[in-house]
């Protein structure tokens, strides 16, 4: 997709195309993305049972390695790992060893010495999960839980699952992503996923100051006027205004932003009548979305949270499965080499 992105697939996929890390959607094709969605569908059913647990990762240790705080993403990853029967260790690194001067590599070596099988990594630096996947011991799976402005692939996939649940398909859909695209790692992953899965049009709606340079190259059209942008939409995805990332005067004021790009009933009325409203959370009510819309009948925001657990169960079990199949293959080859 993007020309300067080296294909990460030698890292993400096994020789026979199974997932073994989940770092980015770049380079992943429609069949694999569909496999992830289908697998997640089965995990949704598990979440409805009286015992919401399957034994796939029983005896495995999953470490949530969060170099940047996040309540929702961390807790849904934790719940996902527990529903797969894994043991979970939550490490909030900002309050831990790195603040005592330990390097990232040393932190990882220590965690590997505790026989961890999977790291779920969130980092403010783009490419950090990629770096870890390159240096980690073979057999340990890395899942990207958001890195810098680069990618947030599980969030994008849970959004795709939510869209498929409500629309049944991607073909012919017009989807808009509204708001702070510049600082959003989710938007990048969403645009990629929607294109691969065959959406008819991906539109970004934002002021020029909140768009990355050459945003069209990601595979989307650009609209600066929200009223025009809402026309014919099947899905509208609101982005959170990343106040903590906002540097300098990119916006005149929050109030002005809400007037121009906030989603209210009136603007939603310009989309198709069955247009669904999505938001990755946490919501800034009255900043990017009106409460009546966020809580309204077209909102699927809470479905997104439920789907987040299922998607994370899917990629964790698929990546762990890929690692284990590969380990099995290595052992077999070693034995054959000896024989």
């Amino acid at each position: 997709m993007t020309a300067n992105d080296p294909s990460p697939n030698h890292l993400q996929l096994t020789r026979d195309g199974q997932l073994r890390h989940f770092l980015t959607l770049d380079g992943l094709g429609q069949p694999l993305l569909t496999d992830i969605l289908d697998t997640a569908d089965s995990f949704i059913e598990v979440g409805e049972r009286s015992i919401k647990k399957v034994p796939l990762l029983r005896g495995r240790t999953v470490v949530n390695l969060f170099f940047e705080s996040s309540t929702r993403t961390r807790s849904t990853f934790e719940l996902a790992a527990k529903r797969l029967s894994a043991d979970v260790l939550n490490l909030d690194i900002s309050t831990s060893a790195t603040s005592k001067g330990e390097s990232l590599s040393d932190t990882l070596l220590n965690l590997e010495a505790m026989a961890s099988d999977m790291f779920v990594v969130r980092h403010s630096q783009s490419g950090a999960p990629h770096f870890i996947a390159e240096s980690v011991t073979p057999g340990v799976a890395i899942i990207n839980a958001g890195d810098g402005r680069h990618a947030h692939p599980t969030q994008a996939m849970l959004d795709m699952l939510t869209i498929r649940q409500h629309k049944g398909r991607f073909e012919g859909l017009k989807v808009a992503i509204v708001g702070d695209v510049l600082h959003s790692r989710v938007a990048r992953s969403q645009i990629r996923a929607l294109n691969v899965l065959g959406a008819e049009e991906v539109r970004v709606i934002a002021p020029g100051t909140l768009l990355p340079r050459d945003v069209e190259d990601l595979g989307c059209t650009v609209e600066y006027d929200m009223a025009r942008g809402m026309k014919d939409l099947d899905v509208v995805i609101m982005l959170r205004l990343q106040k903590e990332r906002m540097e300098g005067a990119l916006l005149p004021s929050e109030r002005e932003f809400y007037r121009l790009y906030g989603l209210n009933q009136e603007k939603l009325g310009l989309a198709k009548p069955d247009c669904i409203v999505m938001h990755p959370g946490p919501i800034n009510r009255g900043v990017e979305i009106e409460s009546a819309v966020a809580d309204g009948p077209q909102s699927v925001i809470l479905n997104q949270v439920t789907n987040g657990i299922a998607i994370r169960m899917a990629v964790m079990s698929m990546a762990m499965g890929g690692q284990m199949a590969e380990r099995q293959q290595r052992q077999q080859e070693q034995q054959e080499g000896r024989a």
């Binding site: 289908d38 089965s42 059913e45 049972r49 399957v54």
Partner: protein, 170 residues
Amino acid sequence: MTALLDIDQLLDTLESGLRQILQARGVDDPVLIGIRTGGVWLADVLGKRLGIAQPFGELDISFYRDDFSRIGLNPRVMPSSLPFDTEGRDIILIDDVIMSGRTIRAAMNEIFDYGRPASIILATLIDMGARELPIQPDVVGRALLTLEAHQRVKLRGPEPLRIEVQESGQ
């Protein structure tokens, strides 16, 4: 071989075997659960034959397989669906072919995650022998213990149901 594997004859045997065991155990309100894919087709047919009104359950055991650590996750996993409460129920569990018994172990583990059934009766269309676990079906359509090691039996369906003997692992 084809005469040996007449599907209707095997279904007759299964049906009458099930009627006998249900009567002997005094079970008058059983529910059917089929293991995907062949077992689900059979659950459909046997439900009608036995006059069980309750819709049958469908089990996909991919999340419970004991070879996950060797081959990873089955990419074609489908959601299981048990459209009834299993707690305290008498269950007839159906699969097309039993060999090692590992599928049935996985299926029983999964069933217990939905609740504690009163009992489980295991019915399989064909018993291939070659057991690796101490699990035996209560009712069998036909035991085929004499196949060569490279031969596999497969149920095709759903319309019409038929049994194929495949040569594998040349």
